[in-house]
Amino acid sequence: MEKRQKKKTDLKKYRMLFIFLGMIVLSALVNDRFLTVKNIANIMRQIAANGILACGMTFVMLTGGFDLSVGATLTLAGGTALTLQPYMGVGGAIAAALLVGALCGCFNGVILSGIKAGSGEAFMITLGSQLVIFGISLLVFKAKFIPGSKSAVYNAIGTGNLGWIPVPLLIFAATAAIAHVVLAYTSLGRRIYLTGGNYEAARLSGVRVGFYKMLVYVVVGVAAAMSAVVLTSRSGGCSSDIGKGYELDAIAAVMVGGTSTDGGEGNIGRTILGVLMIGVLNNILNLMGMSSFNQMIAKGIVVILAVWLDGSRKTDKGGAES
């Protein structure tokens, strides 16, 4: 009896994986161009930016936080990377972009850990910093389109291949691997889980909760800057709204994967699954030649359906405490 119970929970744990596999089979049946090497490589190239961002967002959401400002950070960092390149070279420009990302994250993190914010406050404060950071990027770059880099190295970040494997996928995979190792196997990771799982208990057992609460926002800021580099390299330029909507896409990917909004529960594996699902969905809708308006409708329905079918994160609370 006990064994059967255990088996059931095991299956439940992997339900999202089955939904994902089902989606792939269905996509392959619907469209014969779906399961081609070229198309798969294409999907991987497209999901990299959101994937890197979602890895960072996982850190924040594990502590029970939220970050709505990453889309704006992405825009600011992307603009920085492209604008500074003629002066500082590729390496310097990327370093500067990452620094910008870290600073934006630090700004959120210091405030949020200073006021011991819950997720409601995190929502509002990062909404405010979204306005601030986006306003700054409009001011600095005069709301103009910044043309892409002339450097072959920089352009290879988003468009190059290493053998069969697209470079952005490698960056995403490396980021995910590092994030996974940090969260699963280091004391730093365990403390992040603890901070999100039970703030008071973590504080009383000597975890510097304020520090970890701040750190996760720096992590997501740097992740936003990394996806900015990948994105501006792939799309050959940086428009003033390049990051628009990325925050919600990243949060949705993390949540489709099944990481809880209450914090303390979830992992990078789930996030990758969420990112893959949304990426495959976008791709198959495109392949089917659906109009972009209908794509939006279909995407919304499938996201809700997938989470419903998943069901393993059913809370008896009836929805998220916001």
Binding site: I115, G120, E121, M124, I125, I136, L248, I304
Partner: protein, 328 residues
């Protein structure tokens, strides 16, 4: 002295109102174009349009959730009503639009309450769906509302006060009554305050959870209809950015995002602050990019100060203002 003290106490509790009054006075003195009848009645229209959407959001937030689909619902219903007008006439068009919103809100509500899906995912999904539907309706382009009687709703003024603002105030009073004096309203506070306790004490939580999303959708649709009447057009993206402004307004007014606290008067105050800021920035001729930065900083400082003072009160320090009040 006693009056003085109670007035001071009132403003300590209502910091935002105090800040608003000060800013109002400063901007009136600084910009000639601000304190004019024309501009102020314009401000009231803005408050009315955003306020109606915010009323629905207030229910959702008091009940412990929020609705990311409210803004797109404004876009969608403005398109729906504009397209229906020519075919079925004013009143049926409005009723059908409200009915569609009711059904869509019910879908959201059932998905959250019955299927137990996280409300962020549900309203995120319906946000994308509604944006898509609004665009599909007119194939991406706006639709004019060529109906004099309908356009009159947006243009009508009583005194110098817009009809839109009057509708908003009537709805606000109705919401106040519902939240304060009916069992329905009290139960919404109960599920927002502590869901488990509410459920254990026999409140039909699923019903109330679902009704939050219905209310939010219907109020957003009213906002969309008024918006269409105001600009004489149904526009497929007109409301998309409203969601965050509305949530920010509700929260700045003092309704807690964690649920169970707040009322519609706070929403009126919060929305007034948000609309006042945009209006005042324009009157002061501040560059729009800098407007964003200032608006963001204001949201951050209001929420941070509010939350910080709460934690301070817990450890016994009640802040400078109340120390002054004690001395009086």
């Amino acid at each position: 002295m006693k009056i003085c003290k109670s007035v001071l106490n009132f403003f300590i509790r209502e910091k935002i109102l105090l800040a608003l009054l000060v800013m109002f006075a400063v901007v009136s003195a600084a910009a000639d174009s601000f304190f004019t009848v024309g501009n102020l009645s314009n401000l009231l229209i803005q408050v009315g349009l955003y306020g109606v959407v915010a009323l629905g959001m207030t229910f959702a937030i008091i009940g412990g959730d929020f609705d990311l689909g409210a803004g797109p619902m404004v876009s969608f219903s403005s398109m729906a009503v504009a397209l229906l007008l020519g075919r079925v006439g004013v009143v049926p068009a409005i009723l059908i639009t409200l009915f569609i919103a009711f059904c869509l809100g019910l879908c959201n509500g059932l998905l959250v309450a019955k299927a137990k899906i996280n409300s962020f995912i549900v309203t995120f999904g319906s946000m994308v769906i509604l944006q898509g539907m609004a665009l599909t309706l007119g194939d991406g382009s706006p639709a004019a509302t060529n109906h004099p009687a309908f356009n009159q709703i947006g243009a009508l003024q009583i005194g110098r006060i817009s009809f839109i603002f009057i509708i908003f105030m009537v709805l606000l009073l109705a919401c106040h009554w519902i939240l304060r004096y009916t069992q329905f309203g009290r139960n919404i506070y109960a599920i927002g305050g502590n869901y488990e306790v509410a459920r254990s004490s026999g409140i039909h939580v699923d019903f109330y959870k679902a009704s939050l999303f219905v209310l939010s959708a219907v109020f957003a649709a009213v906002g969309g209809i008024l918006m269409a009447a105001r600009v004489n057009t149904g526009h497929p993206t007109i409301g998309d950015d409203m969601t965050m402004t509305v949530i920010a307004g509700v929260v700045i007014g003092g309704t807690s995002l964690s649920g169970g606290k707040g009322n519609v008067w706070r929403t009126l105050l919060g929305i007034f602050v948000m609309m006042f800021l945009s209006n005042a920035f324009d009157a002061l001729v501040i560059q729009p990019y800098i407007q964003r930065v200032i608006k963001g900083l204001i949201i951050i400082s209001v929420v941070a100060i509010d939350s910080y003072s709460k934690t301070k009160i817990d450890v016994g320090d009640a802040g400078v203002l109340s120390k002054i009040s004690k001395k009086l």
